[in-house]
Amino acid sequence: MTQIFAYIPFTNGQAEDVALEFPAAAQKIDAGATLTAVVTGAGSDLDSVATEMAKIYGQVIKVDNEALAYPNAEVVRKALVNIIPNDAVLLVAHTTFGMDIGPGLSVKMDAAYAADIIDFEGIEGTTLKMIRQELGGAVSTHVTADIAAGAVITVRPGAFAPVDGGSAGGTITDKSADAGDLTSTRKFLEVVEAEAGDVDITKSDVLVSVGRGIEDEENIEVAQELAAAMKAVVSCSRPIVDAKWLEKSRQVGTSGQTVKPKVYMAMGISGSFQHMGGVKGNPFIVAVNKNPKAPIFQVADVGIVTDILEFMPELTEAVSSL
């Protein structure tokens, strides 16, 4: 029987949404598997998460140590190597923490590693079949992993339907004494909060959001003009911030701002999951992109295949003359 463990990420005593998604993922791996939540941390925050998880999971393991108060991947890895059985499947969220801990943990556990999984298609023998994406979401792939000696798998947050948090009446086991040596060669110092920018894109009902399709810094003005005509604000995807054409505070995505507008105008944005992860509240999405195969057209309400540099000025003029 497959043993599945789920590492629960939390902040300020509050489990992240993915905690409700792991059980659905585990069900798809092996409906007969045992599922155990693992929470590591320190003090009352840890206790409240462990109590919450016992309502969702049949078994909860908690590891309490001051060295785990902040989830430093190296320290958490050391604890998990000692806590998780060698032939188990460990689920971790594919977040900046998951990317930090997953690959090294799989080496230390001598287990298979699969990253950013969006679906499972069951186990045959010791072969687990999974689905993930490549090339920024342009294509999907089936991958297999031999899990005979265990596996570390990061799953994409939001990819699995959350289960109802209920009354599992799970048992909490304290394995703090088994965590072993938690000294570290990487020392966590602090979290530097994002700087506030000149505008707050999270406050706008309409966003004109530009991506690589804008091509040049000078063309940002074209988007500004459309935004002015629509009484909207200009936001952007990551490459625009990397190129320093707009401030970081205007970036929509998991590594930028989370926005909840009524209307989201995705102009020359391909629509990677990291970008769309920052678009919440089910807005009306208009996608304009030269590439008819851009993933953005799968999530948009309305799509137009054309060059944004030709289209935006025309739309600006039409909107201005209303």
Binding site: T96, P103, G104, S106, D146, R186, E190, F297
Partner: protein, 262 residues
């Protein structure tokens, strides 16, 4: 400081529309445009700037085939001092762990203070750097968007985390870092730069040079395998507006009005 940067030749997502081949199990690779993985350019730029400040040298390395030599030369045109190509038929079909094992074998033969990779590449797993670090028992930090050298034993690194926040860490050298885009502005490489390094010799190393067991890498050593590529059925997707520009804009304005956009 001796810095090694691991790079990869990948299909360029900005230049290609990806289609499946006739059999439907692989990409149609005939007309694909390849380039250096975007993240790797930031890693090489960071390494060059660090060496400009502190002295030392930058070596670029890749696991690939003959065609991968062009990406090494491109990074050498940026300013990397040396290139090493790890190529062998036995490497084919390697999973992330296999690639990490190949790189580790070469890294152990050198004496590097710092090993950089891109935060991710075409497959989007972001796995090789963390695996190499664990194999070498070096500290690791992923998604690094800031590096400050404290002294010759320690560096301070910022990691990009959710919400635009930055996690600061102090790390002992030698270590492995995966570099996020935006950490710097990679320099432009012109034809002249490429020409200058066209004749520089790039050593090619295989299984026996690295002292690897052929069964531990390549398809034979892989625990994870890609079975096929496919284009998922995502349902209806967007309602596509077609017609003349005037017609499209007319329809779009009605929809924007109906949904609170105007």
């Amino acid at each position: 400081m001796e810095i090694l940067v691991c790079v990869k030749r990948v299909p360029d997502t900005a230049e290609n529309e990806f289609e499946l081949n006739g059999a439907g199990n692989d990409l149609d690779r005939d007309d694909l445009v390849y380039s250096v993985n975007e993240w790797d350019n930031y890693a090489v730029e960071e390494a060059i700037q660090m060496v400009d400040n502190a002295g030392g040298s930058v070596t670029v390395i890749t696991v690939g085939d003959d065609e991968s030599e062009e990406v090494l030369r491109r990074e050498m045109a940026m300013g990397a001092n040396n290139g090493v190509l790890l190529a062998d038929d036995a490497f084919e079909g390697s999973d992330g762990r296999g690639i990490a094992a190949i790189l580790k074998a070469e890294i152990e033969k050198g004496s590097y203070d710092l090993i950089l990779t891109g935060a991710q590449a075409d497959e989007g797993a972001g796995q090789v750097g963390g695996m190499v670090a664990a194999m070498l028992d070096y500290p690791y930090a992923s998604l690094v968007n800031k590096i400050d050298v404290i002294d010759d034993k320690n560096i301070k690194v910022g990691r990009e985390i959710e919400g635009g926040n930055q996690e600061m860490n102090e790390i002992a050298l030698p270590c492995v870092l995966s570099i996020q885009t935006g950490i710097n502005e990679p320099r432009y490489v012109g034809i002249r730069g490429i020409r200058k390094v066209a004749k520089v010799e790039i050593p090619v190393k295989g299984v026996s040079d690295l002292g690897l067991d052929a069964g531990s890498v390549g398809d034979a050593g892989a625990k994870t395998r890609r079975v096929d590529y496919f284009v998922p059925d995502m349902g209806d997707g967007a309602e596509m507006l077609e017609g003349s520009t005037d017609e499209i804009i007319g329809k779009l304005i009605e929809k924007l009005k109906a949904n609170g956009g105007l």
